[in-house]
């Protein structure tokens, strides 16, 4: 349905996206992952026909969108990371404005507005000015605007940033329903690995403008099939304890959280003795040591050297 062929985008001397190839099939939910500055937003701008690439081309249903962007624009809905709404207008007025610019009018527009408000759960708040909405409600309306013209393809750039868990779940369910019930093809980017794991059939991982991995969730996880993750929980984590792990020759990756350190080692390596010794040396009291199969987050960490939310 949508294909990026050897796309590069250069700003002055710096590449934001470099030789990127990507394919999204009809009816799929595809995740695009990458840390901040990886080039995701530039890639989204290119595939939504907003920015022209320096090299390469984007094809929608076999047609170049560089030459004919309207073929994509008519059937694509874009949910930007920003709240791209008129906050001084009501939810209904926003939908009316964007509906009209998508050439919807009269009974059809009203029907679509009612349907969208129902889908995003804002029917009873339709007359309220958007600036009075909570963050979650704004996000839902931000999605709603992109659904007005019943798009075949929905490009969502971190649609759940900065909202509460309840609104987030609502949005995730909505995305899933759109895909299952209306067969909407979705490209989804997020900082939350669990969202991508929950929603996406296939995943692309970007870093520093390059596509570094692609495949189904299982295929991606298989990148670390020869490894295991050890999660160490202690009463506190000290700098010296972290440094000991950093310089340890058998550790392939590490992620530090408040009172927890996750390390990646080869499956056959036994690290228990070393962990206890290093904890003792750093005068830490260990609470638990667990071994688990690597998650997508671990793969991401392994590939980029950074956690997704860094």
């Amino acid at each position: 349905m949508l294909e990026l062929v050897n796309i590069s985008k250069r700003f002055k001397q710096k590449y934001a996206v470099k030789s990127m190839n990507m394919l999204i099939e009809r009816g799929e939910i595809v995740g695009l992952l990458g840390p901040n500055g990886a080039g995701k937003s530039t890639a989204i701008s290119i595939m939504s026909s907003l920015v022209e690439p320096t090299e390469g081309d984007v094809y929608f249903k076999g047609q170049s969108i560089l030459k004919k962007p309207e073929s994509l624009r008519k059937v694509a809905g874009i949910v930007p990371q920003e709240i791209a709404l008129y906050t001084d207008l009501t939810a209904e007025e926003n939908l009316q404005f964007f509906g009209r610019i998508y050439h919807l009018k009269g009974a059809k527009l009203k029907e679509r507005m009612d349907d969208v408000l129902e889908t995003i759960g804002l029917t009873d708040r339709r007359k309220e000015v958007v600036k009075k909405f909570s963050g979650g409600m704004k996000r839902r309306l931000n999605i709603g605007v992109a659904l007005l013209h019943e798009p075949e393809l929905l490009i969502m750039d971190e649609p759940t940033v900065g909202i509460d868990a309840q609104s987030r779940n609502y949005i995730l369910e909505t995305v899933r329903r759109l895909n299952e019930e209306k067969n909407v093809t979705i490209l989804y980017t997020s900082h939350y690995m669990e969202e991508v794991e929950y929603l996406c059939d296939r995943i692309y991982i970007m870093d520093q403008g390059n596509l570094i991995a692609a495949g189904t969730k299982e295929e991606i996880k298989r990148i670390l099939s020869g490894e295991k993750t050890i999660v160490i929980k202690a009463d506190r984590i000290t700098e010296s304890f972290i440094n000991e792990f950093k310089t340890h020759p058998l550790i392939n990756g590490m992620n530090v959280e408040e009172k927890q350190v996750s390390i990646m080692v080869a499956k056959e390596v036994n690290m228990f003795a070393d962990i206890i010794k290093l904890a003792d040396k750093a005068s830490l009291e260990l609470n638990s040591v667990n071994v688990k199969t690597p998650t997508l987050e671990d793969v991401f960490l392994h590939l980029t050297g950074r956690a997704l939310r860094d």
């Binding site: 907003l50 920015v51 624009r73 920003e82 008129y86 404005f97």
Partner: protein, 418 residues
């Protein structure tokens, strides 16, 4: 599509009462303050004098005249008609009739009092002056005029020091009166027409006309125009700011992704500014018409100027929008509204009449759209013909077109970084 953009812009401004007040309320407040405060300066009005004076005659003027006719009438060879004319033109009578005239009676309250009351009046602070007619004043005057004997007598003015302006005013009238008496004697001696010495009523009238005999501009009219053209420039910055916010929040991109041409958006911004500026000017001028009775002698010219000026404002708005899109900052729009508008208003003559300045300043003033707008509006208010404002109207349209062309070149095209 453009209608949707205009409708949306309307709603955005309507939902922003502070902005609405800045665009409509503030100019009206300015007109009220400046128009009222500087009205006297524009009207050329002096301070209104209300004065009370007393006139004391030591003896009857008519008796003096009779005495003169009796003693010197035959010697001077006065005929019956001349005696009648003499009695009708006695100097103190003429002075009193001047004070009682329509022109001065509103200003001067005159009381004829006896000599006995002089002390009492001198202590009465409500009186500005006492005009004391010396004894045998009229007799002496007639003797000088007809027999060329004796000196011309002088009236005495005793002024109240606490009412200096009124005293000077009365003294001026008396000095003028004395001069007229002297002139009268001179004319009589030389047998000139005495009609010439009559004091023309226009001396006291306060009619004002301009050099070219057109209607003068009142302060309220001037500041209605000055504030209207200045504040219309804020419509440009308001639309510029809305435009940049649309870019910042990705709304503009959303519009473009809905397959709306950026030139339709650009035209929507232009058209909405023209409409808003036009409506804003209409509201301000309607207010002035209702409250200050500022009327337009030529409505067609008025609408023509308003449309041309709105076009110029529209041009500025699209240029500001285009620059802020190009530079990725609204600094230029903020700078325009916080500094450039004030400078343009100053140069354009919104705060004081620029006509008093040098030719160079006047020319620069007319180069600003608000200055050109002011020239055209004021010319129409003065009752000038539509042809007199045609150059300003053409200039405003050209200014608008140049701004639009510059904006079109500046506005980022497809493929450029948004």
């Amino acid at each position: 599509m453009m209608i949707q953009i205009i409708k949306k812009q309307c709603l955005m401004i309507w939902r922003n009462p502070a902005q609405l007040f800045l665009l409509i309320g503030l100019p009206i407040v300015f007109i009220l303050i400046l128009g009222t405060a500087l009205n006297q300066f524009f009207e050329g009005e002096t301070m209104r004098i209300q004065t009370k004076i007393a006139i004391i005659e030591h003896n009857s003027e008519l008796e003096q005249a009779d005495k003169f006719i009796q003693e010197m009438g035959k010697e001077a060879g006065l005929k019956k008609e001349q005696v009648a004319s003499l009695k009708e033109n006695l100097p103190i009578q003429r002075l009193k009739s001047l004070f009682y005239s329509k022109e001065l009676s509103d200003t001067i309250d005159i009381k004829e009092v006896s000599e006995d009351e002089k002390d009492e009046i001198l202590h009465d602070n409500t009186y500005s002056a006492i005009i004391e007619v010396p004894e045998d004043f009229t007799y002496t005057y007639l003797a000088h005029m007809i027999k060329h004997k004796k000196k011309i007598p002088q009236l005495r003015v005793i002024g109240n020091e606490q009412q200096q302006i009124s005293v000077e005013f009365i003294q001026g009238i008396i000095e003028n009166f004395q001069r007229q008496l002297t002139l009268s004697v001179f004319m009589s001696e030389n047998k000139l027409d005495e009609q010439a010495m009559n004091i023309p009523a226009s001396l006291f009238a306060n009619n004002r006309t301009t050099m070219d005999q057109h209607e003068p501009i009142s302060a309220k009219s001037y500041y209605t125009v000055g504030m209207a053209v200045m504040n219309a420039l804020f419509v440009a910055s308001t639309i510029g700011i809305i435009g940049f916010r649309e870019k910042e929040t990705f709304v503009f991109n959303r519009i473009i992704l809905a397959n709306v041409s950026r030139w339709i958006y650009f035209s929507g911004v232009l058209l909405s500014t023209v409409i808003f500026a036009f409506l804003q000017l209409l509201i301000i001028f309607s207010f002035s018409w209702l409250v200050f009775k500022v009327t337009w002698p030529n409505l067609f010219a008025f609408f023509l100027i308003t449309i041309a000026f709105s076009m110029a404002v529209g041009g500025i708005a699209v240029l500001l929008t285009a620059i802020s899109y190009r530079m990725h900052t609204e600094r230029i729009t903020n700078f325009f509204s916080s500094a450039i508008v004030a400078i343009m208003a100053l140069i354009g003559g919104s705060f004081f009449p620029i006509g008093d300045s040098s030719e160079v300043v006047r020319k620069i003033s007319e180069l600003t759209p608000n200055g050109a707008g002011m020239v055209a509006y004021l010319s129409t208010l003065r009752g000038n013909d539509i042809t007199d404002v045609s150059m300003s109207v053409i200039y405003l349209c050209l200014f608008g077109v140049i701004m639009i062309i510059l904006a079109a070149f500046t506005f980022p095209k497809r493929g450029e970084t948004m």
